[in-house]
Symmetry: C2
Subunit: 246 residues, 2 copies
DNA sequence: CGCAGTTTTGATTCATCTCAATTTGTGTGG
DNA sequence: CCACACAAATTGAGATGAATCAAAACTGCG
């Protein structure tokens, strides 16, 4: 990435991935913004970074100064308690924002780990705040994104607090399927990027339980599962499993 | 604080509870703001409302246009799923903000119910956004509050995902105790405002389990419990229960 | 004072965890 | 390219913590 002296210019390579050209813009930070506002984001988000599988975008305790948007790949967030307890608190795919938890104390509260080779857009938060003071619709949009995170955390609380193993797995698969659809991928066929243990940690189950429920779903012909490859065969029935309160 | 004619005047009664005079200001929205910025909040937050026990501040689905700050009393948030499943997602005491979930879709996603006679400050959100565009430190503070909510939801996820009943109850009691302390109340003696069922719903347990664990804590001399009255007798041991990973 | 709602406690059942063994898949170096 | 070692996933058997069902005791409100 070469830059000119005063006003830094994006070279053609990075241009391809400027917000304004990004095929994720409808899912990511720019969604719902005017062309003008997206241009300003182009100016703000100038750093992208590649992460190899297993690499951390940040660790719990690190100073917070940027949000991260997933451009390609897949991340998990990991909460590590004082007492060594460790839980996956989220999975993040292309177009999703990570790091909102860090605003609260200026330090990240969880680890973010790449589950495959990935690329992140780095969003300097102080500058995003500046920008959003000037652009009400960007401000509102940032607030919506934070609020959406709160809402989705709360529906995970509901899942963990009141669903049984089968319901949790069904909800998990449907959620993945829906996020794949939003990204233009098949809603019914995809590869899991995380291990059974990570799924279990996220859903409050042991890995053996996750494996068993997958097998049961398979023998009930709801899904086909072969290691990490999942094919969803009966979405309505999965929905019924989540829906049934008992 | 006297104001000139154009600006509506607060009467002496409400004066007593303007943000600038509010004894909760260190806990609530104004915390960390300059005197000048708090004056602007005084101007913004002009409506307070009394709620009787059992009354709703809002229902899931209601149009969102304001945040609510608890001035006195105690609220719960209740998530009601399509399928009739119902879960308490939070308890809110004086100085805490409710309604952040509504920003995401312009509609509240949960019910907020008074668990005792209470008073809320109504904070018109559009005007709060306006104000925070002008006052960077208010903006940053609002972001911190939202982020804090995300962090605390995530630690509930951790609790629900990986703790056993005793650990959950111990964590719950310590959390209440700590919030009481922050408000100048005794950390070790207080009245619960919620039923065993509500505690259970929040913690992903049945009411009988909550009751049993309270009884066990009592016979282990960790607490004294008599219906809603709780006296915490051994905070270090409660901490040890939460801490022990097994 | 009586009644409804809440809480406590007991007996039993059930879902998930734990422990263990086996199979399958993956990455590395000879 | 194959063999080996290691990680991940499956499956089974048995243990266990919490749920469920049930009954009794307590509380507070009208």
């Amino acid at each position: 990435m070469t830059r000119l002296s005063v006003v830094p210019k994006l070279d053609p390579e990075s241009m391809k991935t400027a917000c304004s050209k990004c095929n994720l813009r409808e899912l990511c930070l720019p969604s719902g913004l005017s062309g003008d506002e997206i241009d300003q984001l182009d100016n703000l988000i100038r750093v992208r970074r590649i992460y190899r599988k297993g690499e951390h975008a940040y660790h719990a305790g690190d100073l917070f100064d940027s949000l991260f948007a997933v451009r390609t790949g897949f991340f998990k967030s990991n909460l590590l308690n004082e007492d060594g307890r460790d839980q996956v608190t989220g999975f993040h795919m292309a177009g999703e924002l990570m790091g909102l938890d860090g605003i609260s104390t200026d330090h990240h509260t969880c680890d973010a780990v790449a589950l495959e080779d990935s690329e992140l857009c780095v969003i300097p938060f102080a500058r995003l705040e500046e920008l959003s003071r000037e652009a009400p619709s960007l401000q509102r949009h940032l607030h919506k994104i934070m609020s959406r995170e709160i809402v989705s955390d709360q529906s995970v609380m509901m899942l963990l607090g009141s669903m049984r193993a089968e319901e949790r797995l069904a909800a998990f698969l449907l959620n993945l399927s829906q996020r794949m659809t939003a990204r233009g991928y098949s809603p019914s066929e995809f590869n899991l990027r995380m291990t059974r243990e990570e799924i279990g940690s996220y859903l409050g189950l042991k890995l053996e339980t996750v494996s068993r429920v997958f097998s049961r779903f398979q023998s009930d012909e709801l899904i086909t599962v072969q290691q990490k490859h999942i094919r969803i065969r009966d979405i309505p029935k999965l929905r019924a499993i989540v829906g049934q309160h008992c």
